[in-house]
């Protein structure tokens, strides 16, 4: 158990050091430690199996340790509001990624309009608070459902089309959403919606700086904890759903529609349910983003972001719940960390994804084979 906590602590320390190291010496030391740790795991199989066995035996302890470290992260990053923001963003992508993974990974409903559904959540929050005058928390609760109901226009194509044709339908939906947001008056056109009021819960405004254990944290830490809660809840809920009979039914639908239908799995029900629950999570992520940043505009939700969401799911591991968490926590901070590369950043991002797909096609944390006891 101690070994499990210790290894988690090492990963956490490496992660934080990797983010915060600025001077060449510190950077080199962190890089060296990372490579050494990776090499140790790669070339000492006995250590690897021992650690894996330890984590499998002390699951609850490992999860508790991970939760404590996640709660402590803003403390480690307190000097940098920017990195607290990036960490929050990564957590939002965990929520979004879990939703998308339910659609793409579990049910096989290809959705290339993730950004559009996140945008529906974000814009709904903006319109509900700015035009209708709702408080942010209420808008935050309602906005994901708007994403779900607008997603209903895709119900028929989802049932009718397959594979590449379905991919095209969702791409077209994403483009339509973006063009409409750019040209409609009530959504603010290219400028988007500004000054979305921040969240205020029982008198606590999310713009004031919280203090944890006597240490003052940047204001973004409020949203970090909110996003952590939401990401934890969605991950837990979707894990339960994935392990339930419904998750199994969705898997069979993905793998062989005809065989699944022969066994009495309803195609209509399964696909629409997975699509809607997925959109609920994606919309929730987008809504939280809008409240956190305080404004939404069309470029925040363009096709490129759908691509990022898709890469979180696929690089993490298709249909793998922990894979999505890992994917989001790596893919979101990584380009930010390499900001010093300036314009080469996106180029390298694309290249890294291609290389990963070629050499680890099943993702960083491949989905485990289902076991029933």
């Amino acid at each position: 158990m101690i070994a499990v906590w210790l290894s988690e602590l090492v990963v956490f320390a490496l992660f934080v050091a990797g983010i915060l190291a600025e001077r060449p010496a510190a950077l080199a030391a962190t890089g060296g430690a990372l490579i050494a740790a990776a090499a140790l795991l790669r070339f000492v199989p006995s250590l690897r199996t021992a650690l894996a066995a330890g984590f499998a035996r002390h699951r609850a302890a490992a999860l508790a340790g991970g939760a404590v470290l996640a709660l402590a992260l803003p403390l480690a990053l307190r000097a940098s509001p920017y990195w607290t923001f990036v960490a929050t963003l990564a957590l939002l992508y965990v929520t979004i990624g879990q939703g998308l993974n339910l659609q793409i990974g579990t049910a096989g409903v290809i959705n290339l309009a993730g950004a559009a559904f996140a945008g529906l959540g974000g814009y709904s929050v903006g319109l509900l608070t700015l035009s209708a005058g709702w408080p942010a928390w209420l808008a935050l609760l309602v906005a994901p459902w708007i994403a779900v109901s607008v997603g209903a226009v895709l119900f028929v194509p989802i049932l009718k089309t397959r594979g590449h044709y379905l991919a095209l339908v969702t791409i077209a939906f994403g483009f339509i959403f973006n063009i409409l947001m750019n040209n409609l008056e009530f959504t603010g056109g290219p400028q988007g919606l500004k000054n979305i009021p921040t969240l205020r819960l029982v008198g606590w405004a999310f713009t004031s700086k919280p203090a944890l254990a006597g240490v003052e944290l940047p204001a973004h830490a409020n949203f970090y904890y909110a996003a952590l809660l939401v990401a934890g809840l969605t991950t837990w809920a979707l894990r339960r759903l994935h392990d339930s009979w419904l998750g199994l039914a969705l898997n069979t639908l993905r793998d062989d529609e005809i065989a699944a239908r022969c066994c009495g799995v309803s195609l209509t029900r399964g696909k629409l349910l997975a699509f809607s629950i997925g959109n609920l999570c994606i919309g929730l992520g987008g809504a939280l983003y809008a409240v956190m940043v305080g404004f939404v505009s069309p470029p925040d939700f363009d096709f490129g972001y759908s691509l990022v969401m898709l890469s979180v799911v696929i690089i993490g591991g298709v249909d793998s719940i922990p894979g999505v968490v890992l994917g989001a926590c790596l893919l979101l901070p990584l380009p930010e960390r390499f900001r010093f590369l300036h314009e080469y950043r996106l180029l390298l991002y694309g290249a890294v994804i291609v290389v990963m797909l070629l050499y680890r096609p099943r993702g960083l944390w491949p989905a485990a084979v289902r076991r029933y006891r």
Partner: protein
């Protein structure tokens, strides 16, 4: 209701846009035919074709060759060569190695490759972030038939596009390589047993498709007299839409789909208020509705699924 002349005019413009879309769509459909994948970086290859053409034209102008009759064909040849080679490279690096894995993998891989191509142009082309003016080399002016203005420039674009399509059609139907492409599209294993070199055929297909995209890129530069590094995103999505409307894997379907998409865009721009802003909304919405009615396109194979 706008007058008939306006509609005719828009339909004519639509046909011209449609020829460009069709050129891109044929690439999508050819790649799908031989490897059963959607090569999503094709849109960015189209953009690359436009930039390669522009560079050639600028280079030729620098050595004093400005006459369109000589410069344009050279630009086309150079651009087709460059783009075709990049297309083959893209296929070798990230399409064929993943062709046997799930469609999701090729989807993400080619989308990311498109990002790499786009960013490379942005970074390595001088002042790549700005829209680049494209030299106007086609004859200006025009004439009028029954209230419909016909410009020489448009006729030239139409002519070049049609020539490219007829050439590809001839290559596919009349040459040995074309026969190999058709054979691989039908059944790769059987084709290999008949002595078709699969790798070479796939390479040739990607060269052909990417070369067509280069032609489309230069034509688009000539038409809009401006090119931009992000033009590949919309170009790719429209080309893919056109190929899908026509039915993936069918070359004639892709041409019909391209023309349909172009006419749809221009007529909706004329028919609905603020049409120029919302024309793509209408076009994409029609594509979605269309795929509901015919989930495999106009000329797509209506295969019955078997267990």
């Amino acid at each position: 209701m706008p007058p008939l002349e306006l509609l005719l005019q828009q339909a004519l413009n639509g046909v011209m846009l449609g020829v460009m879309y069709a050129l891109i769509a044929v690439g999508f459909t050819l790649f799908f035919g031989v490897l059963d994948v959607i090569h999503f970086s094709h849109g960015d290859i189209f953009m690359l074709g436009a930039f390669a053409g522009l560079s050639t034209l600028l280079g030729l102008a620098a050595v004093g060759l400005r006459a369109p009759v000589a410069a344009l064909p050279l630009a086309f040849v150079a651009s087709i060569l460059v783009t075709g080679l990049v297309g083959v490279l893209a296929e070798r690096v990230c399409v064929k190695p993943l062709a046997r894995s799930s469609p999701l993998m090729t989807l993400l891989a080619t989308l990311s490759l498109g990002l790499v191509i786009r960013e490379s142009v942005l970074i390595f082309y001088p002042r790549g972030a700005d829209p680049k003016p494209f030299p106007q080399l086609l004859p200006q002016g025009g004439f009028e038939v029954g209230g419909v203005a016909i410009r020489y420039e448009n006729l030239a674009i139409l002519g070049i596009g049609l020539t490219a399509m007829v050439t590809v059609d001839l290559i596919i139907r009349r040459t040995r390589m074309g026969a190999a492409i058709r054979a691989v599209a039908q059944d790769p294993e059987a084709a290999q047993m008949m002595g078709v070199n699969l790798d070479r055929t796939v390479d040739a297909t990607f060269f052909l498709g990417s070369g067509l995209a280069a032609v489309a890129g230069i034509l688009s530069g000539l038409y809009y007299s401006e090119i931009h590094f992000i033009m590949g995103i919309t170009g790719g999505v429209i080309g893919f839409s056109a190929a899908a409307i026509g039915g993936l894997g069918n070359v004639y379907g892709a041409i019909v789909g391209g023309l349909l998409f172009g006419v749809l865009q221009t007529t909706s721009a004329a028919l609905i208020p603020r049409g120029s802003e919302f024309r793509d909304v209408v076009a994409f919405a029609v594509v979605m509705l269309f795929l509901i009615v015919r989930p495999r396109g106009i000329l797509g194979e209506q295969s019955v699924e078997r267990v």
